[in-house]
């Protein structure tokens, strides 16, 4: 099976007057279906740039991005836009729900924008809300939902239809610990259905939900966590002390 996302030697350089700013340097990253990868780094390390390039919102200066095995470099602008609408879901820190639409309409919106009939889009939207335990909130407007519920609706919108890649930028930033944990559990349960996720964060507690953590500094991947150990490794380490 092809990777949900692959970055090959991706560089991004911005020109600022006479200066060149290297936002990303030679970044390699693979996200398999069903896996959550956290990209951890301080402000200005390039992690948000990585997310916008992975989400086909920006193009790399050099290097290649493949989504679902398809290289973005060969695609027309229109094809890239279609891929963004159909295959990629985004979750932001501040939810970005449209205030004039209900939860169900917000979730159905990406499908409607993609030309799917309103009735079909609405049915798929309701299904996504049901999967995340939000069916009874479907007809509420964003201002009638709690912060935690709004972020759950945003996650439903990110996985509605047949999206295989979920990109999240500090998805629990505005939430308290309990609601933040609920959001991470939700992303994890989306991964269990085969979605691949990239979560960008500076927060180690958030990153610790991921299967793999990639550390980024000054635009470069400097380190990665080792593959996960068996379920009993922790308690046996403790007992051995």
């Amino acid at each position: 099976m092809s990777h949900v996302l692959e970055l090959r030697a991706v560089c991004k350089t911005y020109v600022d007057g006479a200066d060149e700013v290297h936002a990303l340097r030679e970044v390699d990253l693979i996200v398999e279906p069903g896996r959550m990868v956290a990209v951890m780094g301080p402000s200005g390390s390039g992690k948000s740039t990585l997310l916008t390039i992975a989400g086909a919102l920006e193009t790399p200066t050099t290097g290649e991005v493949l989504v679902g095995g398809l290289p973005l470099s060969g695609m027309s602008g229109e094809d890239r836009a279609r891929l963004r609408r159909r295959a990629i879901g985004y979750v932001f820190q501040d939810f970005n729900l449209l205030p004039g639409l209900t939860a169900a309409e917000n979730v159905a919106l990406p499908l409607e924008l993609d030309g799917i009939s309103a009735a079909k889009a609405r049915a798929a939207g309701l299904r996504a809300l049901e999967e995340l335990g939000l069916a009874e909130r479907a007809s509420r407007f964003p201002d009638q939902l709690s912060g935690g519920e709004r972020q759950r609706v945003a996650i439903a919108r990110a996985i509605v239809g047949d999206r295989r890649l979920l990109l999240a930028d500090e998805p629990t930033g505005a939430l308290d610990t309990v609601n933040g944990e609920a959001v991470m559990r939700l992303i994890l349960s989306a991964c269990k259905t085969g979605v691949g996720a990239v979560v960008v964060t500076h927060d180690a507690q958030l990153a610790s939900w991921a299967d793999r953590v990639v550390f980024i500094r000054d635009g470069r991947v400097v380190d990665r966590t080792a593959p996960r150990l068996g379920p009993d490794s922790l308690l046996s380490q403790e007992a051995a002390r």
């Binding site: 559990r185 507690q205 990153a207 939900w209 550390f215 380190d223 966590t225 996960r228 308690l235």
Partner: protein, 194 residues
């Protein structure tokens, strides 16, 4: 951590046998802190000596010997619960010392040292989070213990992140001369715990 007071807490629910105390201690702490039966009996003997618990009879400690809390024991437990642990002076933290040494040592990249520790801590946090994800729903005590451990490890990662940034800035802008004169005063005011 105080096994003494944990045992008093369990006995405040009613009389119990030594083996039972060990099993209940492990269950209530999410089985994160294993306890050997020898520790349980030694602690019980000391508690009895201090008048905080009473045993059924004068026989040797064994699985059939029951213990109950005394009035003094209940008072001791109540006062312990409200006494803050000694957090006033900074502990002599091995990781802090390693980073301070790495800053000075020629040929050592302190940022690489920091990253090695950061990765190890995040890997540990991943293991704890996985445990909470898999078993936290069925074991509230385990969730509480895991949360405490995650916050403790998280605070160390945050300190490493801050140190990383501070050292990077300091390398770009070395501190002005003359600030050293304020240091002795600060040092005298804070005692370091062993």
């Amino acid at each position: 951590m105080s096994i003494r007071h944990a045992l008093l807490a369990l006995l405040s629910e009613g009389p119990k046998y030594g083996l039972q105390l060990r099993a209940e201690f492990e269950a209530r702490t999410g089985e994160v802190w294993p306890l050997n039966v020898g520790q349980v009996y030694t602690t019980l003997q000391r508690l009895e000596r201090d008048g905080f618990v009473e045993s059924d009879d004068d026989s040797e400690p064994g699985p059939q010997k029951g213990f109950r809390i005394t009035g003094d024991g209940a008072e001791e437990l109540a006062s312990w619960l409200r006494t803050p642990p000694d957090l006033a002076a900074p502990p002599r933290d091995e990781l802090v010392i390693k980073i301070l040494v790495a800053v000075r040592l020629p040929g050592v990249d302190v940022h690489q040292v920091i990253q090695a520790h950061r990765r190890y801590l995040v890997e540990l946090m991943q293991e704890w989070t996985r445990l909470k994800d898999e078993e936290g729903d069925v074991d509230l005590n385990l969730s509480l213990v895991v949360d405490a451990e995650l916050y403790r490890l998280d605070s160390v990662v945050r300190w490493l992140d801050t140190a990383d940034g501070r050292l990077k800035r300091a390398a770009l802008e070395p501190p002005a001369v003359g600030q050293a004169s304020v240091r002795p005063q600060i040092r005298r005011r804070t005692g370091v715990r062993r």
